[in-house]
Symmetry: C2
Subunit: 315 residues, 2 copies
């Protein structure tokens, strides 16, 4: 009887679920809308019911299911403790214990960005590395650190929150987190648009960006590739801050590789090449020549990581 | 028969050796000058001979010695591999294997700053923390990261090299490492003196520092405590960069505490208080309220850490 497991990625708008073999083959995947209620814990019941239904429909033997690995959009401690998920109306609770009671299967959980890193390390661009960092450039900047094949969750589950590393001491605008000068303010899709608008209002350089109403990060990267100097400056600035952040991360944890994912990473190797360039300038000799790669699992990284989390916990 | 172990700290000028009980009591300690020869490996033979002699003099049973833990001034991988120790004329070799052959006891090794962190975590200010960072402010700035009670060595043994995190993008002078704007350029004893001299040449603020020929970090801190405004500015700048570095470290690894050691830390709580102040401003909410403490083991941190390293490797 083949052994299987589930990887679950609970997001603010959708829940993704994948069924995996122990070798990391994605057998089938699904998603459903995250239910928004005052009592956020109903989401746990939804996930349990959904998986139970799939087990029934697919006629799976409960004994063949090794467990469920879950990613959550907030800090999760190594023991499954969630301190708070304000977006989902959830306070302090232990997600592993509560889900286990609901579904009767072993459950492991972690932060969604950390679990995406574990997914890339298991079956994506991080394959073969024991120590690596995933940086996701989306609406925000997320991060996950893998050390010795395991998630670095940190003492309160807030490990890998590299989007809020301070990279610019002169910034006047506030980040969503309340601080000023966070990496996220320059390297996220939102941050790139913010920088573009700022450049346009303070700069006389001729640029095709001046004629565009709805600037997006993609447009900035496309124009940069076409040779637009202002767009190139914005891309350089984003990559410079990313390179500096990677250098400072390396000075602390000395990983083998940095994997760049998220919507912005669709820009391709122009991104990793430039980040690496700024990285090399800002890191000490013993830490030079790390690998910089693009992520490959896309939105599935989280469910892969969930599967890996539960498999690793089974030894 | 009581079980014992040795902790060894090999430095550029002296080798420190400590004999410890398994509970962490320092039974006796010694030191001897580091032999400077073209063939750096003679230092390994010196250490082996020294320990063999002590075992003989103290009439210790070889069977009661669990092993030797060694700290080295350079990157050491988890498996004992040393890539290079240029200061000591040593190239690529495995110190654990070579020492084991020389002495017939189990040997574990790590970088000296990392091993000092392990020492403080075992029997110093870090007692009780599972995840902590030691920052040593001496001639340079050293660092060591402990995660889940173990040293974070990183993929090439260069984990915890936080003295070379980039903290000032505007710096024009080069750090000893070749980069510009490293933490070490502001927070080491040398860095504080450098900042003092720079302030004196560019600043008209009246300061007692103007009348001192041989400015030292201690003098700067003493004058700051006495209310000298220029000295206070210099201390603030050092603490600001330290606070920012700690914040960026926390964003990556989420430790429980930061322990500040090294000669400069003799300045006392004025240092930890100010670092914490700048830390809190620059870190996201989920990471606030970490502990900041002064190290207590001084120069013995390395031998304590060596002992702990070998004891932990025995399970």
């Amino acid at each position: 009887m083949e052994q299987l497991c589930f990887g679950v990625d609970i997001g603010g708008t959708a829940v993704k679920v994948g069924l995996f073999t122990t070798e990391g083959r994605l057998v089938e995947k699904w998603d459903f809308a995250t239910r928004k209620t005052k009592e956020g814990k109903e989401i746990l019941k939804d996930v349990a019911d959904f998986i139970k239904e799939k087990i029934q429909i697919l006629k799976l033997d409960m004994g063949s299911i090794l467990g469920i690995g879950i990613g959550l959009p907030g800090p999760v401690k190594d023991n499954g403790e969630v301190l708070e998920l304000p977006n989902m109306g959830l306070g302090h609770f232990n997600i592993e214990k509560e889900m286990q009671e609901l579904i009767g299967l072993k459950v492991k959980a972690a932060n969604d960005a950390n679990i995406a890193a574990l997914g890339e390390q298991w079956q994506g661009s991080g394959k073969g590395y024991h120590n690596m960092v995933l940086i996701t450039l989306g609406t925000g900047v997320g991060g996950g650190v893998i050390l010795k094949d395991a998630i670095l969750a940190g003492s309160n589950g807030a490990g890998g929150e590299i989007g809020h590393m301070l990279v610019n001491y002169k910034e006047k605008d506030r980040c969503g987190c309340g601080k000023r000068g966070c990496l996220e303010q320059y390297a996220s899709a939102t941050g790139i648009v913010r920088m573009a608008k700022r450049s346009l209002s303070s700069n006389n350089k001729a640029s095709a960006l001046q004629n565009i109403d709805n600037i997006s990060a993609k447009i900035v990267f496309d124009l940069a590739k076409e040779g637009d100097a202002l767009a190139q400056d914005i891309v350089s600035e984003a990559c410079r801050y990313l390179g500096i952040a990677c250098a400072n991360i390396a000075q602390v944890i000395d990983p083998e590789a940095f994997i760049i994912g998220g919507g912005v990473s669709k820009a391709g190797e122009v991104l990793t090449d430039q980040i690496k360039e700024y990285y090399e300038i800002n890191v000490m000799d013993a830490l030079k020549n790390k690998d910089f790669k693009l992520a490959v699992l896309g939105n599935d990284a989280g469910i892969y990581g969930g599967a890996r989390l539960i498999l690793a916990s089974n030894g």
